[in-house]
Amino acid sequence: MSVLTWTYIIVGLTFALYIGIAIWSRAGSTKEFYVAGGGVSPLANGMATAADWMSAASFISMAGLISFMGYDGGVYLMGWTGGYVLLALLLAPYLRKFGKFTVPDFIGDRYYSNVARSVAVVCAIIVSFTYVAGQMRGVGVVFSRFLEVDINTGVYIGMAIVLFYAVLGGMKGITYTQVAQYCVLIFAYMVPAFFISIAMTGNVIPQLGLLGTVTDGSEMALLDKLDQLHQELGFAAYTNGTKSMTDIFCITMALMAGTAGLPHVIVRFFTVPKVKDARISAGYALLFIAILYTTAPAIAAFARTNLIHTVSNQEYASMPEWFTKWETTKLISYDDKNGDGLIQYVANPQINELTIDQDIMVLANPEIAGLPNWVIALVAAGGLAAALSTAAGLLLVISTAVSRDLIKMQIKPNISEKNELLSARLGAAVAVVIAGYFGIHPPDFVAATVALAFGLAAASFFPAIVLGIFDKRMNREGAITGMVVGITLMLFYMLKFKLGKFGGGGPDDWWFGISPEGFGTIAMIVNLVISLTVSRFTAPPPAEVQAIVEDIRIPRGAGDAIAH
């Protein structure tokens, strides 16, 4: 059977599965819609969190990014996993004990202020929208490459599916769909990885293959071979990288704190029954994520070595079939500058004749390794599972922020349960349409704002929540000033150095040599210092709020998420 037939079959089957789960698990109450009734098992929650967290970017782009960044790619690997340690130790158990539905809920109650709640709502919406636009685009891209439909048609199909199960099932539907999506995506990621690891190093486990030797008979370590190839072609050694140590440090920190502060991840820990379950499900989540994240650097190194071997100084005419196939999608392009018919792939842009898109490393891997057609189709289904699961989680945060944090808590407190549920569903539907619009008309800043989402979360939520739990003296004035200053500073830096506003500037103008991606760390520290200073010069929080803090520190009696 052809790749296309296989893709239709496998993608069709997985979609039927997601829709079946959505119908089986539709939500009947606001509690089921917001937090899946609070009865999700820790293992299922771990899988759902992993799928929620791993987006199209993790699945499709990350290995390719690392492949081109070498050692520097470690910022993503450490940053996007280390955040779970912070989440598990500093946030998840306490927020579960607190027992409400959303992050703005916590901020609003802990800082006894609707201003704080509104600031949190705005942050949650900004963070989630910047993220979700990229996911819808990812769905469209996967569709267009594997199913040979128009990108926009792909976005429409994706919107329809997400709309169906997010609106119908709320958090409950999303949770169980994400469990299925995790299984699909991890299977799709690992199968090609096993095959390629055997081909390159003779070791079936990619994580060990990375430490192994190449199979070409030279007995040389794979990474040494790759360093050598890199240097021959004028690139920096693969295992050394090019970014400054300060920048690597700051980017890693910003991604970690941002991960721990992302509302769609935090809210997942409200869905388990007990504090104990919140702790262990963070462990399961990271374990499931780590399976993919420790495979990615191996795929990156294998693919890089393989690619250089296949193309460097070879005749263009003798390139394998996948090369020409991906050329038509513009992910690879070749320009024979010196007219010798050979491919010069080198660091010097004057002589270099080959441009390669990072996404090809995962998408074309099965073809490069000569795997059967059904594996190629599986990768398409995996990419879609990753994009859809993240999009659904984000849309839920947006709809909850509107129906609960704005309408129920602020505008119309006496709204009936039925109407609140209806407004949550409408909110989700509107959010899907807006996200779809951005997917079809991607603004130029989408790529730039994915990093912005982490920086914003690190500069706003993370300090406010951690201080809310660990510093009983932290008050309304301190937290609000800290969040506002932190987020404003971060926005200013990103607008200036990423989008050229306020006079713009290049890497030479960066403050302390820190890139916009890493600046979230500075903004976070500023937030912390300002919060602590302001809080010490203003009145302490009222006694009942201090009692809340005492209470969330003790795990017993988390009970159900308090409905109203």
Binding site: Y71, G74, L89, L210, T239, R553
Partner: protein
């Protein structure tokens, strides 16, 4: 639960956090970033150790850290009669 017990429970909890977060910091920011050049002199299999910590080692440690935390906290809850 008395005030003293609450304080003692919280103090032990914080002590675990300091230790676990210190390890978290050392394996990622320490071994993977600040000391990467020194550790790269040592090898683990076919890889330089600093590079390995930045791309794989730290992630393994993160996973173990969370499960150790779960174990320690469950034990602590039991000690103070807070388990459910």
């Amino acid at each position: 639960m008395s005030d003293n017990q609450r304080k003692a429970y919280w103090k032990e909890n914080l002590r675990y956090l300091y230790i676990l977060l210190a390890i978290w910091f050392v394996v990622s920011y320490g071994f993977g970033i600040l000391l990467v050049d020194q550790l790269n002199e040592i090898r683990i299999g076919g890889a330089k150790l600093g590079f390995w910590f930045a791309q794989q080692g730290s992630i393994y440690v993160f996973v173990v850290l969370i499960f150790v935390y779960v174990y320690l906290m469950n034990k602590l809850d039991k000690k103070y009669g807070l388990e459910e």
